[in-house]
Amino acid sequence: MKVPLPVRKPQAASRKRLTRRDFVVSATASASLVGWLGRLAAEVPNQPRPKACILLWMAGGPSHIDTFDPKPDAPANIRGEFKPADTSVPGIQISEHFPRFAKLLEHAVILRGMSTQESDHKLATFHLHTGYQNRAGVVAFPSLGAIVAKELGKRDVALPNFVAIGRGPQEALSAGFLGPDYQPLGVTDPVRGLDFIEPVGPRQEFDRQVELLRQLEKPFHEAHRSEAGGAHRSAMERAVRLMSSEQKQAFDLSRERDEVRVAYGRPAAGAAPKRGEKNLTATSGSFGQGCLMARRLVEAGVPFVEVVMGDGVGWDTHRDNFPRTKALSLECDTAMSALVEDLKTRGLLDTTLVVWMGEFGRTPQCAGGGRNHWSKAWSSVLVGGGIKGGQVVGKTDRDGAAVTDRPISVTDFLGTVCTILGIDYKRKNHPAGVDRPIPIVDTSKGVKVISELL
């Protein structure tokens, strides 16, 4: 069922400059915007809005065949129970359980040629997030979010440049050698909001404590003048600043109107997980609210937000593949369609790249009602960010087992994402203690940017 979003006055699809009128529209259209436009308003007029990226992480690895690469001609034990459905782009079909997203496909590119090496959850999750496999090595590789935060984020702002919503894959979300400034701020439960943003006691007491702290600190810092001390104090001041900022409202979904929250798919109150569906916990459904928070954060100027769907490894459907994939698909469809529509309505879609992916696909064969891990051929989806939508890139064979056209490696994929965002993926970092420069995306085996979507 499609729930129409409350439509505000439509804005130009691409915000090339901020006019006075835009300010008025933005500032009056929604109460939620008032106050935390700070960063947007600070933009120099005539500059295009910097790009942002929202990564919708499908933890566990969704089946490509049951989502974006249906195989109606394959034998029954491969094509599965779902039917392919037409989309707004003639000739492109996706699973019937993404009905709302099917109508938005002109904005999307489906990459059907994903072909990667790792088929263990943790190793694959790390590889897809960092672009590197060297997991025991000397180099602590940064996650995509940290890379984007560093390349596109502003310094000296109250909001952090990388936010991770939901129970994310900790080890794959690290800023690595890029350091603490790019470490993600985690929001475990978007409905609850940001943890630890309010003091334990009364605000007045907190302010007095901070003042006392500043006085107490002085002699130590004057006597030691240490880098570690400086870094600690600066992190403390930034945290205090966020607590006192109006931008922290970006984390507060109660400021959105109810229709908007419902449009993204509100978690059913008290809906108990079905028997046997151990991964669908009571918090299932919070993905939509996470997407809504991501939109609010991007609007407030945060360049990278990762929203995790499938608490733990929800898409890991070794059993009950069809009922679980159906439920997850429908929840995902509502959330990501609302996100895309909302970004479009607000004129943010052209500058916001939405990435939908998991760590791998799933086997063509269903054994015992489930599908297992499959990294040789799978799909991801890109939406917005100024790409040429309405395309499928790459092709798999009849059974979805192998890529027959346009294989895409992890580095091809990340190189493309960076290019869309305006980041030079060949740029090298020089981490301390490592005697070689590390390119943002590993170029040692060549990177083939998917140029047809640019």
Binding site: K122, R135, A136, V138, E171, R208
Partner: protein, 511 residues
């Protein structure tokens, strides 16, 4: 380094070495004196002044954190600060090395290095491994521990050392085991040579694969993916060629070859046992140096060779003779880590203040003062518990586990620079505002101290000693008295002071 400096340095070393021609075993005091001769000679030739000695409170907190991974309790602090015996520092060091937390702290550090962050149930594995390792560090020498790790077989429950060898549901890859074993036990980064000869260094691709060939025999029975249940064994028939289906980058077929080029010859033991025997022999040129440098790095925040695990001909030590002597004495002691540690922390160099005064930047680089280190996640948690007691759980609230969750949240993987503060907004928000520690625990502490009849100075004194392991200065007492007026009551003011002290850089750092 310019040529002139090099000559001066060599000269200083020759002079110093002349005084210590007795190559035989040194006792702790002699080794500590030797350390100081080397450090001081170098400072002198470079014209860099050394910092003043640390006072008792500064030494106390530092040595507790470095040896036990936790600040002293207020009782421990008070009793040491009241001790006027001239040998009180040496006594304290002896006690700390003899107490179980010494091994537990080292175990905590080493599980972070050796347990794969990508292991299934990492926390369970880390706990098993830590427990095993703590007992080892308290009772065994480093060569024994290393041998047990490198040659581990069997099931995890029977032999937790096996955890070093696993990741995911499988044995660790040969490539990873090669990398880890070379970095942590030999102090060299062979992985640079996995795919091509290193441009600057002696390591060649064939050396990487020669080392890798020692690990090919580690496998689960039937290559089962149930490594947590079935454990690992050695399968002599497995060689580098038998893993070729995975084709790691830069693959080169090589027989097992020790670093330096000597091939393994018809040994009756397993490849891993042969590697361990070679590595832990007193003559091995890498093993003792690697641990001597790493121990120095841990205690001084900076290695004699930096990065700590990147020893090679083009990366010269800052104090070459000193590193040679430390390695030799460590080997001669039978790889007794307590011996090495006791000597380092007994040196004047270790016992200097971390306040730079007017000194140039070079002072820290030459170990003329103690650098400021950052409390590790484990040190932070354990210190908070030492001050505030175990974290309180909110009734009906989420299960706040404890140390494991806290450490995961605050920690850095790998070998982070001990002097780099690598935490940001998320961590500071949690430190300031999480009920885990600073809510009721802080209230309970201040209520206990701010009893009727006690003065502001009494309470401030207790809080400073409890949290910062030192008495307050006069200025700090004055500050707190003024704060009591602002806050309206001694109890409120005490609670606020406790919070503020816990948020200071002084508390989060090991200075």
């Amino acid at each position: 380094m310019c040529g002139k400096t090099r000559i001066l340095m060599a000269l200083a070393v020759v002079i110093a070495a002349g005084r210590e021609c007795r190559a035989a075993e040194l006792d702790n005091a002699e080794l500590a004196a030797l350390i100081d001769r080397h450090i001081d000679a170098r400072l002198k030739t470079e014209g860099v002044p050394s910092a003043a000695p640390a006072d008792d409170a500064e030494f106390l907190r530092r040595v507790y954190l470095d040896l036990h991974g936790v600040i002293p309790t207020s009782d421990q602090a008070a009793s040491f600060l009241a001790d006027s015996r001239p040998d009180r520092r040496a006594r304290l060091v002896d006690t700390l090395l003899a107490d179980p937390p010494y091994g537990e702290h080292l175990a905590d550090i080493w599980q972070g290095y050796l347990v794969s962050p990508l292991a299934d149930d990492r926390q369970v594995r880390a706990d098993q491994f830590r427990k095993w390792l703590a007992e080892r560090f308290n009772t065994k020498t480093w060569d024994r521990i290393t041998t047990e790790l490198l040659t581990a077989t069997g099931k995890i429950d029977e032999n937790p050392a096996v955890i070093y060898l696993i990741e995911g549901r499988l044995p660790r890859t040969v490539v990873d085991l090669t990398d880890l074993t070379s970095r942590y036990f030999q102090g060299v980064r062979l992985s640079c040579a996995q795919c091509h000869d290193h441009p600057l260094v002696a390591w060649k691709q064939q050396e990487f694969w020669g080392m890798a060939a020692f690990f090919t025999q580690v496998q689960t029975p039937g290559k089962s993916k149930l490594v947590y249940q079935v454990g690992v064994k050695d399968y002599p028939e497995l060689t580098l060629n038998s893993l070729k289906d995975g084709t790691p980058d830069g693959f080169l077929s090589r027989p097992p070859t020790f670093l330096g080029g000597e091939e393994l010859r018809g040994d009756k033991t397993t490849n891993r046992a042969a590697l361990a025997a070679w590595l832990t022999s007193a003559k091995n040129p890498y093993f003792a140096r690697a641990m001597a440098n790493r121990t120095w790095w841990r205690l001084f925040g900076r290695g004699i060779v930096n990065p700590v695990d990147d020893m090679h001909s083009a990366n010269a030590p800052s104090h070459p003779e000193l590193l040679d002597r430390l390695a030799r004495q460590f080997a001669e002691s039978g790889f007794d880590l307590k011996f090495l540690t006791r000597a380092i922390v007994s040196s004047r160099a270790y016992q200097r203040t971390s306040r730079p005064g007017d000194a140039p930047d070079k002072q820290a680089a030459l170990f003329g003062r103690m650098p400021v280190k950052v409390l590790t996640a484990g040190e932070l948690y354990d210190s908070l518990v030492a001050i505030l007691g175990a974290p309180m759980r909110k009734p009906g609230g989420p299960r706040v586990d404890t140390r494991a969750e806290f450490v995961q949240f605050f920690s850095d993987d790998g070998d982070p620079d001990p002097t780099a503060y690598r935490r940001g907004i998320p961590h500071l928000l949690r430190q300031m505002n999480s009920d885990q520690f600073v809510g009721r625990n802080v209230a309970a502490l201040s209520a206990r101290l701010a009893k009727p009849g006690r003065s502001a100075d009494d309470v401030a004194g207790d809080l400073f000693v409890t949290i910062l392991s030192r008495p307050p200065t006069v200025d700090e007492q004055v500050l707190f008295r003024a704060h009591v007026t602002r806050a309206g009551s001694l109890e409120t003011a005490s609670r606020e002071l406790a919070w503020a002290l816990l948020m200071t850089s002084e508390f989060s750092l090991n200075h």
